[in-house]
């Protein structure tokens, strides 16, 4: 097997204007620009999208609440010592998906997890993700119309487009009038 399906990027979708970015899944793409374009095509086919973030999957550091109960990373900065901004995502409770909670400054992914826990720990997060902000790529605000408006003109992707209940009702009524109930 010498095939490649190309690297994987996690995708975050902003479903409500000014709402948090939510993890929707991932895309395989050769580079970040194509990943962002493909994220639009895969995850913004329906109207509820106002913005996208992508990040290479191998730059995500994840810990579940179960893992943190066994081993909590130290709040020490670790070896590198150079602080950078991490975006923090958490899955709250057992419904829903990872959503953006905020940012922390940390010198390592481990420290970022710890700081995320210390900052947002009251939210009953069951799974944590931290990603360095420098690894994220975002859809541009001035392109939002070109990227996300077209989906609004595709009403046929919504079940409400099809008057199925209406014609099934009329078919049943026609049938009942033809053969009255015994």
């Amino acid at each position: 097997m010498n095939d490649t399906q190309l690297p994987r990027f996690e995708v975050f979708v902003q479903e409500r204007r000014n709402g948090p970015h939510l993890n929707a899944g991932s895309v395989h793409a050769a580079d970040a620009e194509l990943a962002l374009l493909n994220a639009r095509d895969v995850f913004a086919r329906r109207p509820e999208c106002h913005g996208l973030w992508i990040v290479p999957a191998d730059r995500v550091t994840a810990r579940t609440a179960e893992q943190l109960a066994v081993e909590m990373p130290s709040s020490e900065p670790g070896e590198s010592g150079r602080a950078e901004t991490y975006r923090v995502f958490g899955k709250i409770g057992h419904k829903g998906t990872h959503e953006h909670l905020g940012r922390v400054e940390a010198a390592s992914a481990g420290q970022a997890i710890r700081k995320a826990f210390d900052t947002f720990g009251s939210l009953s997060v069951t799974s944590w993700w931290v990603v360095p902000e420098s690894a994220c790529l975002e859809s541009a605000e001035d392109e939002a119309d070109a990227w996300f408006k077209p989906a609004q003109d595709k009403p046929f992707r919504d079940q409400a487009f099809y008057p199925v209940e209406t014609f099934m009702r009329s078919l049943r009524r026609a049938r009942e009038s033809k053969e009255p109930r015994r």
Binding site: M1, D3, T4, Q5, L6, R8, A24, G25, S26, V27, H28, A29, A30, D31, L34, V42, R45, R46, A62, R63, T64, E66, Q67, K91, H94, T97, T126, S127, K154, F156, R157, D158, Q159, F161, Y162, P163, V164, F167, M168, L171, R172, R175
Partner: protein
């Protein structure tokens, strides 16, 4: 099993009993992981192979509305395959491995897609039967104990209702149409009824994986339960359309409130899943050709990305 393992398993099963979702990174039995990868990847392959029978009709759809809708539907199936491969990837499977297994004929996918879509009316009946069946299955899986699988399913269910409804709209139009259109849809109904019943898989008694899948909350209902619900839902719809179903034994059992149906031809089912259905070979050839024809494209993208990285 060591004491530690037994404790972990007990803890794991308690979590599932409490309705918690298992997330990647959480402890899980190897068998849970194995079963999930098997199921999710089969499900993903089914979506991808499922693009083919309908995809062949995009260029022949008989109105602009039907053309747009069918294209969007087949595209959604690609999207659903994409979401599902992702869910399997969170368990450590790679898309390379999964696709390789599919192309080498080592992976299963839904038996239904090895039947031909012989006429335009089949597009309506596939939406009505096959997507209705899929929705029943997927609504159950949206409650699955594995978080990423459940999330993929929630997304898919939200989109899939459109698939069923566009199919019913086609069926409706044809039943209200000319005698030729009516005949076309009646024939399609006869072609797809039994394959759709088989799609739910073997009877519970012959389904070795079911007990463990139910115990660990991967599935919450059995093949036979889902199949019965499909029949109970679809028979009245067929009667409303005034379309006959090809089963002389079909009758309403007032005592149980269920529609009873005849014997499923399990020999045919086994033939189809073991690669001898009417279209297994065509489907795999189409997938392989797309994959091989695309190899130079993927190589070019990779080369460009590598060069850019080196330059940076």
């Amino acid at each position: 099993m060591t004491t530690g393992e037994a404790e972990k398993l007990a803890h794991f099963e308690q979590r599932i009993a409490r309705g918690e979702k298992i997330e990647p990174g959480d402890w899980m039995p190897e068998e849970y992981r194995r079963q999930l990868i098997r199921m999710i990847s089969q499900h993903a392959h089914s979506e991808i192979v499922g693009m083919l029978p309908e995809g062949g009709w995009i260029t022949r759809a008989p109105s602009l509305r039907r053309k747009l809708v069918l294209l969007a539907k087949v595209q959604d199936e690609g999207g659903h395959g994409q979401y599902l491969y992702h869910a399997a990837e969170t368990l450590g499977a790679t898309r390379e491995e999964m696709i390789d297994a599919l192309l080498r004929g080592k992976a299963k996918y839904s038996s239904i897609f090895n039947y031909p879509a012989a006429a335009w009316a089949d597009i309506g009946v596939i939406g009505w039967f096959v997507d209705s069946a899929a929705i029943l299955n997927q609504t159950m899986l949206a409650r699955s104990s594995y978080g990423p699988y459940a999330r993929a399913m929630i997304r898919i269910c939200a989109e899939e209702n459109f698939h069923r409804k566009q199919g019913m709209e086609i069926v409706y139009r044809l039943t209200q149409g000319t005698p030729g259109q009516r005949l076309m849809v009646q024939q399609a109904v006869h072609r797809w009824w039994w394959p759709t019943l088989m799609m739910f898989g073997p009877h519970d008694a012959d389904s070795p994986n079911t007990p463990v899948l139910v115990r660990w909350g991967i599935k919450t209902r059995t093949n036979d339960e889902l199949r019965q619900e499909f029949v109970d839902q679809t028979v009245p719809e067929a009667r409303a359309f005034d379309l006959s179903l090809p089963d002389p034994d079909l009758r309403f059992d007032a005592a149980s409130g269920h529609w009873r149906f005849g014997q499923i031809d399990w020999d045919e089912f086994r033939q189809v899943i073991s690669g001898h259905g009417p279209c297994n070979q065509v489907r795999m050839e189409a997938r392989r050709k797309a994959h091989e024809d695309g190899a130079w494209v993927r190589a070019a993208l990779q080369a460009y990305a590598r060069r850019r990285e080196q330059a940076a």
